[in-house]
């Protein structure tokens, strides 16, 4: 890390501590700071063995959230439906924003549109943009 950038991070960290209470508790937006970016994230998983997951009407939903233990009911997700071949796809790309992102995968079938219990949650950290 360059000397300039280190100073920058330290300066902003200090400011952040001042602003934490308002930003977090008050739910404020527009904190400012280093620009958030969106980055491609490749999510992969092991193929489920249910026949119905791996045929028309089956597939996976990849949910993502910004807090650990996020609620699936209100979370964003990418649908990864069965397309063709022996199995439904077992990977997909997400565009996720800087910071920690939490990901859970649910398998579903035409028989069970609500799907399985979610997979274990994993975390991926997207870096922030370089200093302006």
């Amino acid at each position: 890390m360059s000397r300039t950038r280190y100073a920058w991070v330290r300066a902003w960290a200090t400011l952040a501590l001042v602003l934490v209470a308002a930003a977090c508790d008050g739910g404020g937006n527009g904190l400012g700071g280093p620009p958030s970016i969106t980055a491609g994230v490749q999510v992969s998983w092991t193929a489920n063995r249910e026949a119905a997951v791996n045929r028309a009407g089956g597939g996976y939903r990849v949910y993502h959230g910004r807090t650990s233990g996020f609620d699936l009911a209100t979370a964003s997700f990418i649908d990864v439906p069965y397309n063709s071949g022996a199995t439904a796809p077992t990977s997909t790309s997400l565009l996720l924003s800087s910071g920690d992102n939490f990901i859970k995968v649910v398998a579903y079938s035409a028989l069970n549109p609500n799907g399985s219990a979610p997979s274990g949650e994993i975390t991926v950290s997207v870096p922030f943009a370089a200093a302006p």
Partner: protein, 608 residues
């Protein structure tokens, strides 16, 4: 160091703020088409949607609107609300179309064209009696277990058959039991074909002293045939009942007689099942001893990916209590599913064992109608020829008929007489069962005989006093309780006498003899006989059938996947809460719908 800690705190908070910004950011951008929240995925026609245009729109305007998307209107006035049925071109998804129509100001609503199917019921004449498969609140003819009746308290078989037609054909289910009458009219077509392996009679016999590949690894008792047909009586064949599986491969393994089996017979049978391709082994039996040899064989089954389904037991006791364990139910291997018995209202039956640690699920186990190997000749001793102190009586109102010596045997403290040579017998005319494959006399007996005195059982071809020119089957003294099964196949088509004798000397007497539940079980070729029974033995095969169905439906499943689907695809039942591991009654449809959570999830940055 401090600075970096502060940086971490900063990033954490910024992450939360960024997620708020994320929504507004993406809202203004072109969303990936799949990113639709709270979408329901049902079973619907893949290239059609139903659009409700505003009523003011003419048919032509509706057609034009549809054509504008490159779609085609099949109907413009479906149902009271005048829905437009839209056919989508190849490559256009239902979701895309729904999003597009939803965005139109002239559209009130849009939905998929969902698919409905008739629920499949088989044409088997006794199907209406099978409450465990389809509970309509029916009373079971011949059912003696008192129960209230609640419609829909069943394993959801019709919904499951609707998904797979009852086809478990790719799964071999071994019935480790008293054998199976594989010629039964409702079983023959569903028996495992072991010809190429050298077992043309659909299984094998593990009872010591009997022929290994007996032409009849068939059922000399009835229990195994009953169990087998609950798993897989041929469905929709206009004969008798139907199994959970309409089509399956049933392997007949004779490891029990009417009085039970041994470590040797059970272990040999299970080993055979595993090495001959069984995926599920039904074990409607149990014992109280922890049996290391049996457990090793269970482990071998697990290591070969075989599911074992075991009865919880019929003592009404807690299998978790160290004083009343039950094996194989209590074996801790995770390929064992242990089953409690439910009544027609999905209450736990009073006889069923239970156990929050060892008993996994519940299933229908009272008033269960299923196949029987042949006619059963029952006897109440009323027509027996008796000499001496033998008496046909009953120890109280409602108690079963018994044959006793002394005549006042029911009175505690009574004893037989010295100097007795008392015989009781009956001639059984078995011409009516000519052509039967097997015939077995069965009874329960309790005796207390002083040293030097004798209690005997004998039979004689042609009839008459069996202790005169007949064959003595046993002659004992001392005290014991016995369940006897005596093969009397030699009597088939003829007359045979069966009888008991008490001989006593001049000194020393004891409590005497009581005999009950006397009957003759036959195994008839092409039997079309059925019987109603109660027990966790009857609950267990419902679960074996479901396990086979799951496996046939999901050929890539592991044994653990099958066990998961059985345990967690069922319905929560109040009576099973705290009494079983899962708290659930097995449900075939729920198990087919069950989807395991994905595993092995990873995520990596793939670029900006």
């Amino acid at each position: 160091m401090i600075a970096s800690k502060r940086a971490v705190g900063f990033l954490a908070c910024f992450g939360a703020a960024a997620s708020i910004g994320y929504s507004s950011l993406t809202a203004g951008q072109a969303m990936p088409r799949q990113m639709v929240k709270a979408r329901s995925v049902g079973s619907y026609v893949g290239d059609e949607v139903l659009v409700k245009f505003k009523s003011a729109l003419t048919s032509q305007a509706r057609i034009n609107a549809v054509s504008g998307f490159g779609d085609r209107a099949l109907h413009t006035n479906v149902g009271t609300r005048g829905l437009t049925l839209v056919k989508l071109p190849r490559g256009r998804s239902v979701e895309d179309a729904m999003n597009a129509y939803r965005a139109m100001t002239d559209v009130e609503s849009v939905q998929p064209n969902y698919i409905y199917k008739k629920l499949l019921a088989p044409n088997d004449p006794s199907y209406a009696q099978l409450w465990g498969l389809h509970n309509t609140g029916q009373a079971v003819v011949g059912g003696d277990f008192p129960t209230s009746r609640v419609p829909a308290a069943d394993i959801g078989a019709e919904q499951a058959w609707d998904m797979n037609g009852g086809d478990c054909g790719s799964a071999i289910v071994a019935v480790l039991d008293t054998g199976v009458n594989h010629t039964h009219a409702d079983l023959a077509a569903n028996m495992w074909d072991g010809s190429s392996a050298g077992f043309p009679n659909h299984g094998a016999n593990f009872i010591t002293g009997e022929v290994a590949n007996d032409p009849m690894p068939a059922d000399a008792d009835g229990h195994g045939t009953h169990v087998a047909a609950t798993i897989g009586a041929v469905g929709n064949n206009s004969v008798g009942t139907t199994g959970v599986c309409w089509k399956v491969q049933l392997m007949a393994l004779r490891a029990l007689t009417s009085s039970g089996g041994t470590t040797a017979s059970v272990v040999a049978g299970l080993s055979f099942a595993v090495s001959h391709g069984a995926k599920v082994v039904n074990m409607s039996f149990g014992g109280a001893a922890f049996d290391p040899a049996f457990q090793s064989e269970i482990v071998n089954a697990r290591d070969n990916g075989v599911v074992v389904v075991a009865a919880a037991g019929n003592d009404g006791t807690d299998n978790d209590d160290p004083a009343t364990p039950q094996y194989p139910c209590d074996f801790s291997q995770d390929n064992v599913i242990c089953v409690a018995a439910l009544d027609q209202a999905y209450g736990l039956t009073a006889f069923s064992n239970f156990g929050a640690i060892n008993v996994d699920v519940g299933a229908p186990g009272a008033n269960v109608l299923s196949a029987w190997p042949g006619v059963t000749i029952t006897d109440d001793f009323s027509t027996w020829t008796r000499s001496g102190a033998w008496s046909a009586t009953s120890c109280g109102s409602g108690a079963p008929p018994v044959l006793v010596n002394p005549s006042n045997w029911c009175t505690v403290g009574s004893t037989y007489a010295n100097g007795a040579n008392d015989v009781a017998y009956r001639d059984f005319d078995l011409s009516g069962i000519a052509g039967s494959l097997n015939a077995v006399a069965t009874f329960s007996t309790f005796h207390e005989i002083a040293a030097g005195d004798l209690y005997g059982f004998a039979r004689r071809a042609g009839g008459g006093n069996p202790f005169s020119g007949g064959q003595t089957v046993f002659q004992v003294s001392g005290a014991n309780a016995l369940d006897v099964s005596e093969n009397i196949s030699a009597c088939i088509g003829a007359t045979c006498s069966l009888g008991f004798r008490l001989t006593s000397g001049g000194a020393g007497v004891d409590g005497g003899i009581a005999v009950g539940f006397f009957g003759i079980n036959t195994t008839q070729p092409g039997s079309n006989v059925y019987q109603v029974l109660n027990g966790t033995s009857m609950a267990t095969p419902h679960v074996s059938g479901v396990a086979a169905m799951i496996w046939a439906y999901n050929p890539n499943y592991t044994y653990a996947d099958v066990v998961n689907s059985v345990k967690f695809g069922g319905d929560f039942i109040a009576a099973l809460q705290g009494n079983t591991v899962s708290g659930r009654a097995v449900d075939a449809a729920g198990s087919l719908r069950f989807v395991n959570p994905p595993v092995g999830v990873t995520a990596v940055l793939s670029g900006p």
